[in-house]
Subunit: 138 residues, 2 copies
């Protein structure tokens, strides 16, 4: 069972510790009592989604013996206008550099977002998750 | 609009950067090609949930002029048995030390989880989020 603990340090600064033993600082903006010493919790959801689908895609591409030298993901979230301001839409933009056949990249992304990625599937269908990809963008 | 970027460093290690300018390392276990240099993406969801509801609860308790000296949250997640292994249940256990009236704590938690917390409301209703609280636990 995944587990975590979170502890108030001071102001709005919290330190979270994962079951795997890694610590993360979270904080918020000064106008709501924070000190901006770490990411906002909602930003962590986008980062977690990027890490999750990123690990899937590189794992699948490596199994397909696709050669690439660089791999990045940009994520944009749209939130409900009123409280609770949950994510309604998340756009995932995959950027990869190398000798990457488009159909293999697309297959890897679809397998991740539909079948394997626990984070995207924790946020769907409340958030509509869509994607784009760019091969060797300048 | 919240946004983030995630970049592959090596193996399964990714560094995420939030729009607010903070970086987070993510990684996975060695049996799937990782080096355990950071939390798993699914652990980040639990940490984000703890930070989100934690910030709400301390903010509400401070407005109620409740005095407390220490505040922690433990989170446990249950996942679907088959891929995609999204969260089906999350238990949030609030622990607070101080002169804390139970009805004020309960009201603060309910306001957070039902009305204000963007993270819990991004994960519900796919994940059933329940809670307990402990005042001055030993």
């Amino acid at each position: 069972m995944p587990s975590a603990t979170v502890r108030l340090v001071d102001g709005m600064q919290f330190v979270g510790t994962s079951a795997s033993g890694h610590a993360i600082v979270m904080d918020t903006t000064e106008d709501v009592g924070g000190s901006d010493t770490g990411p906002r919790p909602m930003e962590l959801l986008l980062i977690a989604l990027g890490g999750c689908t990123g690990m899937d895609v590189v794992s699948i591409l490596r199994k397909m013996q696709v050669q690439f030298t660089r791999f990045e993901i940009a994520l944009d979230g749209e939130r409900a206008p009123e409280y609770p301001k949950y994510f309604t839409k998340i756009k995932v933009i995959y950027k990869i550099w190398g000798d990457v056949p488009e159909e293999k990249l697309k297959k890897a992304i679809d397998l991740s977002l539909e079948k394997y990625c626990s984070v995207s599937n924790s946020l769907k269908p409340k958030a509509e998750v869509s994607y784009e990809y760019q091969i060797n963008p300048t």
